[in-house]
């Protein structure tokens, strides 16, 4: 069921890319598999599927991403619980290699005890990228910090920050790009009494107009 859905999504992405280019916009989009590990009061692992899209008009860029999957206790045979995550960012590019963005980041997952933990961060992100293997291999590093957050946990929110780093390989004869990265989000609650870390490997394929 997932393969036809992925194929349909890629086709829709390609059509959207063509349409947007015709209107002077620079679109980008992709699908990814995210190997996720949540380490807080529980240790949960799982795999999620995600989709990303971005639309650039000059130096301004609007980006959306959505990840959904199942996570469960590490090594346990119990069925996983839902993990849902979404980000919306409005950014600018002061330089070709730098993007600054701001926007909400929401995440929801269910702990072993059945408690559903919901996070909403307002984040400020900075992303730097540049070619390091010819012009086809680009590396990127993105760091973010929460400007404010709300979470349905008994402890008060203290601070949160995270980042992602990896590389994107552009295929020479197609507007396709392959992405491999490592991402991590780290939140501190109750003055350090509770720590929540979500990290994982991102493997993606995307279409890029750039």
């Amino acid at each position: 069921m997932r393969v036809p859905a992925l194929a349909a999504a890629l086709v829709a992405l390609g059509a959207g890319t063509t349409l947007a280019r015709a209107q002077g916009l620079t679109p980008a989009g992709g699908l990814s598999v995210v190997s996720t590990r949540v380490r807080g009061t529980d240790l949960l692992t799982g795999t999620a599927l995600g989709g990303q899209g971005a639309l650039a008009l000059g130096r301004v860029e609007f980006a959306l991403s959505y990840v959904q999957g199942k996570i469960g206790p590490d090594g346990g045979g119990a069925p996983g619980q839902d993990l849902v995550e979404g980000v919306a960012l409005l950014g600018v590019r002061p330089a070709r290699w730098l993007r600054l963005a701001v926007g909400p980041h929401a995440r929801s997952y269910t702990l072993t005890g059945g408690t559903q933990l919901r996070w909403v961060f307002w984040e400020l992100r900075a992303r730097a990228s540049g070619a390091f293997v010819g012009s086809a291999g680009r590396g990127y590093v993105e760091l973010w910090r929460a400007l404010s957050a709300s979470v349905n946990a008994p402890e008060s929110f203290d601070h949160a920050q995270g980042g992602e780093a990896g590389m994107v390989v552009h295929l020479a004869r197609a507007p396709l790009e392959l992405r491999l990265g490592y991402r991590i989000d780290h939140a501190v609650l109750g003055g350090g009494t509770r720590l929540e870390t979500v990290d994982g490997v991102v493997i993606g394929v995307g279409l890029s107009g750039r």
């Binding site: 920050q161 590389m167 991590i184 501190v188 990290d199």
Partner: protein, 360 residues
């Protein structure tokens, strides 16, 4: 009675025609006479004072030279003088004047609005009987020797036989161009070469047209000096070889390789230390997989962009650039060969002279 009436009407018609003809002639002649060196004689002719007209015109024609009167003005003076002599009853004198006129310009025809049929018919008879030719050639021509042609016209007063030849200045034959009959005009071409197909070895030749009467007797010679100058077309300079700034490097430098190696190492380190950067103390080992992959990509990039590696794309681009230059050189060489073979001959035509055969 009826016959007498018809005769009167006939006379009246003639008188009207004569009056109209004289009026038209006066108007046309007045326009022609203005500014002419023969204006006095023409005016006397228009006033029907033919003796005075003949005397004035004869005097002015005797004084006229090429500098004071053009050929067309002299022709105008001669036709009025011939007409005046004719109306004075001096037909032989008129015929002699008209013969001079035909020899001066075989193309000349009296204006039939100015001169009555008595004059034009005498002139036509003289023209047919007089064998005269004139050469019409462009003053300056440049021809490609052998393939081009110096073209000129021989215009004749009447049907006759002509010999068109080129001669050395001493009169020796250089090249025969045409021999045979001609009507009003004849178009003749010379390819710029001598009889042996070579460039002329002299700087001046004479274009000579000898016209003969039907009896074969030489009727006249018109000669036109042609100044010749051999013109070699300049060859083209070779195109300059492509500048070094246009050529792409054919061997890779060290920067791309170092960028791949150092960039990969830096990025791998960043991935590995990202948990520490964000303050997490129990990172997963998966980051090391990503860090290793990034480092490996950097190392691979170093190998792919190693210093001194032949850059095939740049080599091909440079080869294409050099090939285009060599094609340009080959084209210029071919053009220069063509230009060296393409010798031009500049021909300047001088003033024609007429030579009358000596009387036997």
């Amino acid at each position: 009675m009826r016959q007498r009436g018809a005769a009167v009407r006939r006379h009246l018609t003639w008188i009207c025609l004569l009056v109209c003809g004289w009026s038209a002639a006066a108007a046309q002649g007045a326009a022609q006479a203005a500014g002419s060196p023969f204006a006095e004689g023409i005016r006397a002719y228009q006033n029907l004072d033919f003796d005075q007209a003949a005397a004035l015109l004869r005097r002015d024609l005797a004084r006229a030279t090429g500098a004071t009167a053009s050929a067309s003005e002299r022709a105008q003076g001669l036709v009025y003088l011939g007409a005046a002599d004719l109306f004075r009853g001096r037909r032989d004198s008129a015929v002699a004047v008209f013969r001079r006129l035909v020899q001066l310009d075989p193309r000349y025809r009296p204006d039939r609005l100015v001169f009555p049929p008595e004059v034009t018919s005498v002139f036509d008879n003289v023209r047919v009987e007089t064998r005269a030719v004139v050469l019409v050639a462009p003053p300056d021509t440049e021809v490609s020797a052998g393939t081009g042609a110096f073209t000129f016209w021989v215009v004749a007063s009447a049907f006759q036989t002509v010999e068109v030849t080129l001669r050395y200045q001493d009169g020796a034959p250089f090249r025969a161009l045409y021999a045979g009959p001609m009507g009003d005009s004849l178009r003749v071409q010379w390819d710029g070469l001598d009889a042996a197909g070579q460039m002329p070895p002299v700087a001046r030749v004479l274009l000579r047209v000898a016209s003969r009467a039907p009896t074969g007797e030489l009727a006249g010679i018109v000669q036109l000096p042609l100044d010749l100058r051999v013109v070699h077309v300049d060859t083209l300079p070779w195109p300059k070889p492509p500048a070094d700034s246009l050529l792409l490097p054919e061997r890779s430098g060290s920067r791309p390789a170092l960028r791949a190696l150092l960039g990969g190492a830096l990025l791998a380190t960043t991935v590995a230390t990202l948990p520490s950067i964000v303050g997490s103390d129990h990172p997963s080992g998966s980051r090391l997989v990503v860090a290793g992959a990034v480092g490996l990509a950097g190392a691979l990039g170093y190998v792919l962009h190693r210093p001194g590696r032949a850059l095939t794309v740049n080599i091909q681009a440079n080869q294409a650039l050099r090939a285009r230059w060599q094609q340009g050189v080959a084209a210029v060489k071919a053009e220069n060969v063509r230009r060296r073979d393409d010798v031009h001959l500049a021909v300047h035509a001088g003033e024609p002279t007429a030579i009358k055969p000596s009387a036997r």
